[in-house]
Symmetry: C2
Subunit: 512 residues, 2 copies
């Protein structure tokens, strides 16, 4: 058993093949960029195929290969299930599923695992039934969890080689020029899919909206595409994109957001031209509203916002409170309309967004990021992957990427949820190491990472109660008691790669 820099125990065989986490910037990346196979297309050749099955056949997909999908269609996705059903029906087995993430709608994966069609998985996250099945040991091989930037890194370094990418696209032309902003079932940015298209050997665009050549804007270019298949429907528009998320009316969440806004505006980063990212969770969404009010009052404009992005931020763009947004994933209808219509809303790839092994990621330039947590511990390590029962139900996402890149990272969380403390002695699973976390913001007050003496000084007169992280933990335990330890078996069901490719943690099988 090896121990990594934050004291997590990593079984020797995995430690040897992946390396163990040694610090957020410890690993240096020098390599020849990976690349895909090309079969040249001659004038007159057609890329149009009649069915998913024909595309699978033409792609040369065989037992043991790696297939990829993107998760821009979220709970509305029909593509992954449609393709995997066909693959299973054709008798192809022993595949690695390398989806950028996996949603609840992808429950049929469980049967494909049982039937030996899927024997390895790498993903940002695993939800509900799939997560539970994995946590109960359904797979022989552990799932590899990667952050969005980590996945891009793994692909560009050749650690994750995609044989065939099946990429759903809300619009495409006959040569495969595709985007997510036009069509019947739009998803906005195709930021994750772009990386797969660039590096996979075979790339198949699956669309329900074939348009005349050339389709523009071009998220995925024809020179990265082998085949195009038109289907009846790539998914449910209402599952792909929901209307604007209502900002929370929960007083506790609003208080957390207000505290977070006070922290941001008191920080040295809050000035003309600053940049930030804020996600779609309850409190984080509300932060954007409080921050917009503060920016109007202080006559301060942000240079840009980075997304994963909601319509609320796009309204700030329209209002002129934000100069530009650059977007790897559009969360809701408002963001999708914005990327279609506003030239200052610019799509970027996942590699551009967060690849820690590349020639520079957008997260590196970020001033402030507002994040959430399932748990955070007294070393400031954050868990967004496993529940209080130890079962996988979350996603790594861009959490560790943005926390490592941003100059100021805030973790917003209530001190308890129901009867469960969120500030704990040791988190079940570490996704983001404590050294990347600057301030924990709760309804009771904040705790600043003692490593950030500059911030402790900057916040000396802040109008928010300040505690040590241990004090916050004690307050949580005082309300709900010390949580019972989770009983795990030895078997490792998931490997948690840090964004640099080393192992920051593992998830073990929960005892039945």
């Amino acid at each position: 058993m090896a121990q990594n820099q934050i004291g997590r125990e990593i079984p020797q065989k995995f430690a040897e093949s992946f390396g163990v986490f040694e610090g957020q910037y410890a690993k240096k990346h020098e390599y020849k960029r990976a690349s895909g196979q090309v079969a040249g297309v001659t004038p007159g050749d057609s890329k149009m195929l009649g069915s998913i099955r024909e595309a699978i056949t033409k792609s040369g997909l065989k037992d043991g290969m790696t297939v990829s999908f993107h998760h821009h269609f979220r709970e509305g996705d029909a593509v992954l299930n449609m393709v995997m059903a066909e693959i299973a029906d054709m008798g192809i087995r022993n595949l690695t599923l390398a989806s950028s993430s996996i949603a609840n709608v992808h429950d049929p994966i469980i049967d494909h695992i049982r039937n030996g069609v899927i024997t390895n998985i790498t993903s940002s996250g695993l939800r509900d039934r799939v997560g539970a099945a994995i946590s109960h040991g359904i797979m022989e091989n552990p799932v590899v969890i990667r952050s969005h930037g980590g996945r891009a890194r793994a692909i560009e370094k050749g650690e994750l080689h995609i044989d065939v990418a099946f990429l759903g696209a809300p619009s495409s032309d006959c040569y495969g020029n595709a985007n997510g902003s036009h069509g019947k079932a739009t998803c906005g940015s195709l930021g994750y899919a772009r990386v797969d298209a660039e590096f996979a050997d075979k790339v198949i665009i699956i669309t329900d909206n074939l348009v005349p050549y050339p389709n523009t804007p071009i998220s995925i270019p024809q020179n990265h595409v082998d085949y195009v298949v038109v289907v009846e429907s790539i998914g449910d528009p209402n599952g792909i994109a929901k209307g604007a998320t209502r900002i929370t009316s929960n007083p506790k969440e609003l208080l957390i957001a207000e505290n977070a806004c006070k922290v941001i505006t008191a920080s040295p980063y809050y000035k003309e031209g600053f940049s930030f990212q804020a996600g779609s969770g309850g409190s984080t969404l509300a932060v954007a509203r409080f921050l917009a009010d503060a920016m109007r009052k202080d006559s301060i404009k942000a240079g840009y916002a980075l997304g994963g992005l909601t319509g609320h931020l796009c309204e700030m763009l329209e209002e002129g409170l934000i100069g530009k947004v650059i977007d790897t994933q559009s969360f809701d209808r408002g963001a999708i309309d914005s990327i279609k219509n506003n030239a200052n809303h610019y799509e970027i790839s996942a590699s551009f967004y967060a690849n820690p092994g590349g020639k520079g990621a957008a997260v590196d330039q970020l001033d402030v990021v507002v994040l959430s947590a399932l748990e955070i511990d007294t070393d400031f390590n954050v868990n967004v992957m496993t529940g209080s029962d130890g079962v996988i139900r979350g996603a790594s996402g861009g959490h560790s990427d943005t926390a490592a890149g941003a100059k100021l990272s805030l973790i917003l969380t209530p001190i308890i949820r129901g009867r469960i403390p969120t500030i704990v002695e040791k988190v079940n699973t570490v996704i983001t190491p404590g050294e990347s976390v600057d301030v924990v913001v709760t309804e009771l007050g904040i705790a600043v990472n003692p490593g950030r003496k500059d911030l402790i000084e900057a916040f000396a007169k802040l109008d928010v109660p300040q505690f040590t992280i241990e004090e916050l933990k004690e307050k949580a335990y005082a309300v709900v008691g010390t949580p019972d330890p989770i009983i795990y078996d030895e078997k490792v069901v998931a490997l948690i790669e840090y964004r640099d490719g080393s192992l920051i943690d593992v998830v073990r099988k929960v005892r039945d």
Copy 2:
């Protein structure tokens, strides 16, 4: 001596290393895409360097390596000379210069060749003094001439590996996000530069217009850039982009253009949604005007135009006569303003434009292309490279790419220029093989390639005199006599790669 499919003699050693031309679609391309070296950038790292010299040092440039530049700045370029002077001053020698093309302004190259700084060149073209020096044998190794698509193919297949790309950019941010549409000295599309940035080991952006992060639109993304250098001036705006070229008033050129327009509108490709490319030469520019008139009269709109592109076509875009333009090179101020302001004017890379070894090029989708010629022979082979004296003065450009891709290719030329026939028995140098050429259009009438029986039938009632190509040649010779043969030495000064990488011809040293 080997002979290729069109009877051109290729010295054995070159035939063996490159292969010889066997037909426009003969070569099949199956390969693993090349890739560049990556040195990972960590949050807090700066890419900004203080000088060109510091960038050369940091890039690790050494004797024998390959450096690249783009030619989007045309006769206004200051970057190539500035960088090469510094390289020469640092004592680095024996370099391969892989510029996408070479202009008159690049005459200092001659000294760098004489001094052993540059010992190999690959380029689309060579003008005036550099071309003459090469033709007179100044270099030991032959220059490799590649079409725009052929260069992209050579880079993507790894036949041309770029160690360091020095890419001038009219605007960039501190992380290297660059475009050509904003700044003091704009050039529009950065289509050629994009390929270099993607595949070179080290990429240096040289700009005179540093803007706040993130610079958008993004032609070259930060994750393809190692360093950024700010200089006083990347070049002369008036040399980079001239105002709209006046359409010719030469009656002979207008007659050729009118004949070409009649050919296009009588062809089966002239219908709603058709596509075309027309360059910037005298007659070709006038074709756009005649074609616009016809399209208005016939209520026909083009789906898209492909560029290399002038402001005249952008006016047709504004008017709604063309639905979209996709652009790898913006020829004039009108085109540059258009790519900045019109969302239907979309930038594409040279690989997207014309790479014959990739997963599909834009030229493959083209209905009609209008091209010019220095000479065309009775086998329909076209020369756009060497003058009637056998001296290199032209450029391969996208000539063979578009001719091979388009369903209908027209070559516009007067039958004589001055006292020199343009329709000849054998062209001095073949850039585009006769099988790619469909119709030759002159002031006297047209000659249809006998291989295109469908067109001969379609043009049965065309209101333009029709001849065989031999008849046109006889008419030219009748006026100016049979041209004297050029006396060449044995020494090969340039290898003409067909777009697929095989040798379609060589250029020999002219006798002094």
